[in-house]
Structures are given as structure tokens and as C-alpha cells.
Symmetry: C2
Subunit: 390 residues, 2 copies
């Protein structure tokens, strides 16, 4: 099931506030979804995800197909029981990962033949196979199989003809995805994905085709695939707000904190990105007042937490009281710097919690500002805060 | 400060039940102390350590001297504030690590000249330096600098003459350690370390020398240094119960669950070992019913937790109710097997919690049996349970 209730719209932008009811619970939108590729958000306990307010997380169909495999997933009745997460899950189609295999895969109208990167087995992915796997995973939101149109290939930009060809196949795959999804009696919700590369009229044609098939939710794919930032922002400003107003809109694989706030203004309800988790493991930390490299020597003796205003477990510790409010239980920058230098696991464990908390809290503040009718002021404050530096 | 209260002794063995009051709190003995080398028990949040009942943890003087260094430690007023652990801490002397540097160090009566393995700096460790560093770390229990007498060197067993020479130097270093500890006005407690290799009369001579210096607690060192198991057990049966009955006894670097229970019977109050944490990261798991390799293919589809009777967060999840008591929140063996195969951080995070919980809970059961006067029955049950297999 999927029910989307639009609670409020922002008069100064395309931003919207809504609730998304799925088989495993209700999601407040706009929302950021942490990525849990192999059935785990890297380095984070499920209970920590709950504590930081995660409402829905991602799983990667391709990865879970390879390991642990469908027999295991089937025996657990899907991904929820396996990874001990009882709130909603969205799975991608596996298309992006298959496409990323490069020379190891061959794409045809029927589907994609490829070699398993795990054991070399010859495998086949198609709209039907993707639906069958995602039905076993029992994710609350299922994504159609699409072909991700690249921005460029070997330094050569994708032409309009190539983008059209790719988009048209994705559209046909959307239809086959829906037919198989329905044939399987999948009780969850299937999203269509708008493609078309950097060509706005192709984006519109793609959307038109998907609307004719009819989905309970729509995504914008094929952004954040290597294009210059201004072209990404151009597509973000063009496409999302054209999607049906009464259905959830998902911008795939985006992005920085700035991208998220801009995406909300462009009418997006749902985001996912590996950036907060991956960057945390590399010691790059997001905060209200800008980004911070914990590896930097200036942190060596700093007793302050990452962000003195933050209430995540890394910054506020077991009391949950921020440094600014007098709490002194948080882990210091000096300590995180030390853990990073020593390659200690606790370093990425704590920085991942902070980064995800930051992303989730940012979206909560976005929702609060939408509820209060003050999104424009929020954006201005966000921009000046982020520029302040930390 | 250090106050040791002997609460009860076991009539069937040398086992004792006590409480150890230190500057940062009270420790119930017998106790296992998790090892936190670089200011972190690898892969475990401090709050998880508290949840699993850790009462005192270790820090490694040598490692913390190298990284983050004494300026940082000094600025935090010691290790507690740095690593956000407010219960007792014991630090080793750094002697074992310096000794382990092999060709990179030169041991003289005055102390040990060595090259920093981190940056190649020429450094010097002595009883005085060790006390100075441990005073900065402000650990509740400080260990004297000793020379760890090896069991063998390049395949040649240590002779009695060599063991005597080493033990006598350690005894002189004990005296220098105490003098420097007192000169520094360190408010914590300094332990002497019995050496003497595998020679019982040397162990007794070592102890006699330490008693003349007078320490508030005594340790048995130089076991678990490569000797055959029967020789280790022989020393364990010989030495600990000769240590003063009214002071805490610490067996350094030991051992398996069986070693711990045997050690308690031999009169030991305190243990530390990297085994539960290190083995967890290699997928070797300790349980009431024997050890288990999570990498084994037989776990691939097993829905049960590691141990159905266990209440750790890995086995019982957020409810804390064991599988045997109807709880189904724990992480399955299939999931842990999958995380291990995929090299996911969450795998060692969960198995480390389980292994430490097992060790800490084992010691709690030991204490309960001592309180109840049923330690002999406990040992018999422990032995048969561990032999059952899992």
C-alpha cells in the first residue's frame, strides 16, 4: 500500500509537506533516507538509526541478490526481519549497479546479461527479475528497472539521440516492471523513474509515458551521474515540480545538504545519498556551520564536540544534552581526531552517527519550517549558517 | 586510593569474592577487564560497555604515549575525560609493548632505549617515565614497570639464570616505580608484578621482594607469553594464592573462559585479555555452550541468534529478551554470517558486544556462585555446558 497526504505547500517555492503511509509505517516528508547497501547502514546499529529519527532506509537489490542471496532473503520473509529494521524500506531496482559493471555487462531490450562480481556466475537482470527480487525483499517501495543514462561515456557527452533511445527503453521497462509487479501480487508500492539525461523535453516525454502507465509515486533518476553542478541544478529545477502533485516525488542519489534544501524548494519529497555515511568514514563531517575534516591537525587538542549545538550521540554523549546547553558528555574533536589517526572503528561509528543525524535533523527542521510557514526564512538562515564556517 | 574488602572465600578452592574501591568507583571481584588499547575498546561505544556491565577497563600506556601523546592526555586531565569513561581504569606500564619491539629496543638497568614505531623518534622508557606517564593518564590502577621474561627466545627456552636476572631487575624497577609514584603524589594505586618465568622458587623470591617494598595490590605477569598450556596452569596454581589474601590479585593477559574460571579457583581477582575483542573481529565467538565460528557455512540460513540463552544486544536486540524467553529482536547467525562475508563493520560491532558480554556475564555468574556458596557446582556446570557444543 501507499497513501500520500499533502499537508501543506510553500507559497515561495515548490516545497511541500506531506505524510507517506506504507506497509511498515508512516514517513513524514520531505525525508532523507540513509543507504543500507548490504542490509546494514555501514557502521550503525538499527537502534542508533531509530534514535536519530530515521523513518525509512534503503536497501540495494543488486547487492542483496549477490549476498546473502535470495534463498536467505526468502527464508526471512524479506529484508526487514533479516536486518532487524521494522520501519519502511525502499529498494532500488539493481539497474544502476548492473550498469556500473561496465565491460562485464551487456544491455539489450530484453534485459542485462552480466557476470557476478562475487563469483563470476553468468546472470541476467530484467524488469521481471528485478520485480521478482524486490518482491522477495518485501520492500515498502519498489523501484522500476531503468537504464541509467550516463552524462558522458569515455569523455564524450551523451547525445540527444542516445538519451532518447535510453529513455524510451526505460519507459518500456517501466511498463514491464508494472506488469510483473502486479502479476506477482506484490502488496507494496512501485515507483516509476523519469529519465532523459540533460534534455528537458526528453524528461517531459519520459514523464508523460510514465503517467500513462500510472504509478503511485515517481522518481527522478539519472542525476548526480557526473554532470556539472549547474546542469544538475537545472534538471532539479525543471523536472520534480512537473511530477503529479498528489504523489510522492523522489530525487535519486542526491546529495549535499545544500542540494537537499534546494531539492525541497524544487518540490522533492524524498532523497537518498551515500554521502553522509561514506564521507563520515573518510573523516569529512557535515555540520550546521559548514563541513569539517576531522583529520586536520587543528583538532588535535580541541575539547569541543564536532558541533556544540548538536544533540547526536557523538556530540552530546549519553546525556543527549548539547555542549551549548551545558552538556559535557559528547566526544571531543581531539578524541575523534585521535581515533581517525589510529584507524579505530569507533571513529567512523561516531562520525557516521553525527553525519546521519545532521541530515535527518536538517530534514526535520525543513519540515518544521514548512509546518510553520517559514521555509523561506529557514533557507536564508541555513545558507548563512552553512557559510559561517566551523 | 584503593580499598579491598574480602567478602567471602570458597571452601573448595582458593576462590574469593570481594569489592575493590578505587577513585572512580567500586569494582565487584572477581572481574574481567576489557582492553581499550588506544583509548577505545575496539568497536564498542562506552555506553555499550556500561550496558554490558563493564566495571573497569584497561588502557595501554605505551600506545597512548605514542598517540595521542602526553600533551593531549594532560589537557584532558587523563584518560577518563578523553575517552568518556567515568568508571575505573587500569593502565599497564608500557613495559610489555616496549619489550615486544624486539630489535628496535635496548634494555639496560636504567631503562629501555627504543625507536618510536610511529615516527622513528628515539625514546626512553624507565620506571620513572612509566610512572610519570601513568600519572598523567590518571588511571585508578597503575602498574610498575617490569621486564617481561620470555618463555623462549629464538626457540631457546629461558634458563633459570636468565629468568633470575630478569626477575631481579624487575624487582629493582618495582622499588624505583614506587619511589617515583610517591614522589609524584599520584593519588591512585600502584601494583607490583611478580615475575620469575616458569621457575616457582623465583616466583616466590620475586613475591618476597615485592612484599618488602609493599604494594596495595599484586599482579602475576609473564604468563601467557608463549608457554605450553600445562606450564601456564602450573604457574596459575602455584603463584596467585601465595599473594597476600587481603589485597587484590591480578593475573595479567589471561585468557580463555576456562582459564578465567580456573584462575578464580586459583585465587585470582582480576583478569584482562584481548581474546574476546580480537576473536570477535575474526568471527570467533564465545558462548556458554562452546565456541562458534560465524564464518562457517552452516550458519548461512540460521535464524537463531548466536546463543539462544544470551541477553546481549547482538543476541536479544532492543528488547533485551533472550530467544529462549521468547524474544525475537536479536540478530540471527545468518545475518552475522552475511555481515562477516561482506566485511561490514556491523559484524565485529555485534560480535564484540556478544563476546565481551559473555566474559563479563561469566564473571558475574562466578560472583553469584561465590555469594551463594556454590562455586564448586558452578564450575562443574560450566565445564559440562562448555563441552556441550553449539
Amino acid at each position: 500500500m501507499l497513501q500520500f497526504d499533502l499537508l501543506k505547500t510553500d507559497p515561495t517555492s515548490h516545497a511541500r509537506r506531506g505524510t507517506l503511509t506504507l506497509n511498515h509505517g508512516v514517513v513524514q516528508t520531505p525525508i532523507f533516507m540513509p543507504v543500507g547497501t548490504y542490509g546494514t547502514v555501514k557502521g550503525v546499529m538499527p537502534r542508533s538509526l531509530e534514535e536519530m529519527g530515521a523513518q525509512i532506509i534503503l536497501g540495494n537489490t543488486f547487492h542483496l541478490w549477490m549476498r546473502p542471496g535470495l534463498d536467505v532473503m526468502k527464508s526471512f520473509g524479506g529484508l526487514h526481519g533479516f536486518e532487524k529494521w521494522d520501519k519502511p524500506i525502499l529498494t532500488d531496482s539493481g539497474g544502476f549497479q548492473v550498469w556500473s559493471l561496465g565491460a562485464m555487462r551487456k544491455i539489450t531490450e530484453e534485459g542485462v546479461h552480466f557476470q557476478s562480481p562475487v563469483n563470476g556466475d553468468k546472470l541476467f537482470m530484467s524488469p521481471e527479475v528485478s520485480m521478482q527480487i524486490q518482491t522477495i525483499l518485501n520492500s515498502d517501495i519498489v523501484m522500476q528497472l531503468d537504464e541509467c543514462t550516463p552524462y558522458e561515456t569515455n569523455g564524450k557527452k551523451t547525445t540527444e539521440a542516445e538519451a532518447r533511445k535510453s529513455m524510451e527503453m526505460s519507459r518500456r521497462w517501466a511498463k514491464r516492471s508494472k506488469e510483473e509487479f502486479e502479476r506477482l501480487g506484490n502488496p507494496n508500492a512501485l515507483f516509476g523513474i523519469v529519465q532523459g539525461g540533460m534534455f528537458k523535453h526528453l524528461r517531459e516525454e519520459s514523464l508523460q509515458g510514465l503517467l500513462e502507465i500510472d504509478f503511485p509515486g515517481y522518481a527522478v533518476g539519472g542525476v548526480s551521474v557526473g554532470e556539472p553542478k549547474d546542469e544538475m541544478l537545472d534538471i532539479m529545477q525543471h523536472t520534480p515540480h512537473l511530477l503529479p502533485a498528489n504523489k510522492p516525488r523522489y530525487l535519486m542519489g542526491v546529495g549535499t545538504p545544500e542540494d537537499l534544501v534546494q531539492g525541497v524548494a524544487d518540490g522533492v519529497d524524498m532523497f537518498d545519498c551515500v554521502m553522509p555515511t561514506r564521507n563520515a568514514r573518510n573523516g569529512t563531517i557535515f555540520t550546521r556551520y559548514g563541513d569539517l575534516k576531522i583529520r586536520n591537525a587543528r583538532h588535535k587538542t580541541d575539547h569541543q564536540p564536532i558541533d556544540t549545538s548538536c544533540t547526536c550521540h557523538a556530540c552530546a554523549g549519553k546525556s543527549g544534552v548539547s555542549w551549548d546547553d551545558g552538556g559535557r558528555d559528547g566526544f571531543s574533536r581531539a578524541y575523534l581526531h585521535h581515533l581517525d589517526r589510529c584507524g579505530e572503528m569507533l571513529g567512523p561509528m561516531l562520525t557516521t552517527i553525527h553525519n546521519l543525524h545532521y541530515y535527518l535533523n536538517l530534514m526535520q527542521e525543513v519540515r518544521q519550517s514548512l509546518d510553520a510557514g517559514s521555509f523561506a526564512q529557514f533557507r536564508a538562515q541555513f545558507k548563512s549558517d552553512r557559510a559561517r564556517g566551523i
